[in-house]
Subunit: 84 residues, 2 copies
């Protein structure tokens, strides 16, 4: 299964009305446990950059943080309001 | 297979020396064909934000753009130099 299908594939079945969607994933594989945990701060800054390009309603933004061993992943799914 | 394994799983086999890695994925599902194509510009700005958090050597950054129907995805894989 391709990454794209994994990101958007399932949503197609549940989506009655076609909506523009944007997904942002930041994944980090650490070598050790040290080093700052910058994903939350990075997420906020990345959201500010994205909102310069598309109008975002906060209630249409879903965050998902996953940790698996030395890997962590922050997924941001945004259903975009009609931009026109 | 989880998204995290998909992103970092394969690299583990080929990686002889453990390196810190960062993956950024921006995926967009469009409703129609209209609307600006902002992924390339968005990518450059997101890279500027990330480089405030981690030191990035440009030759360790790989971009991958995929289009599938009305879906497009920009993947940025960064092998981070030792940050210490």
């Amino acid at each position: 299964m391709s990454l794209l299908t994994m990101l958007f594939g399932e949503k197609k079945k549940s989506a009655s009305v076609a909506k523009e969607r944007l997904s942002l994933i930041i994944a980090r594989e650490r070598v050790g446990e040290d080093g700052p945990d910058f994903l939350p701060q990075l997420r906020d800054e990345l959201m500010q950059v994205i909102s310069k390009y598309v109008k975002i309603d906060q209630e249409d933004v879903k965050f998902n943080l996953q940790k698996q061993g030395n890997m962590e992943m922050l997924e941001v799914n945004i259903v975009l309001p009609d931009q026109h």
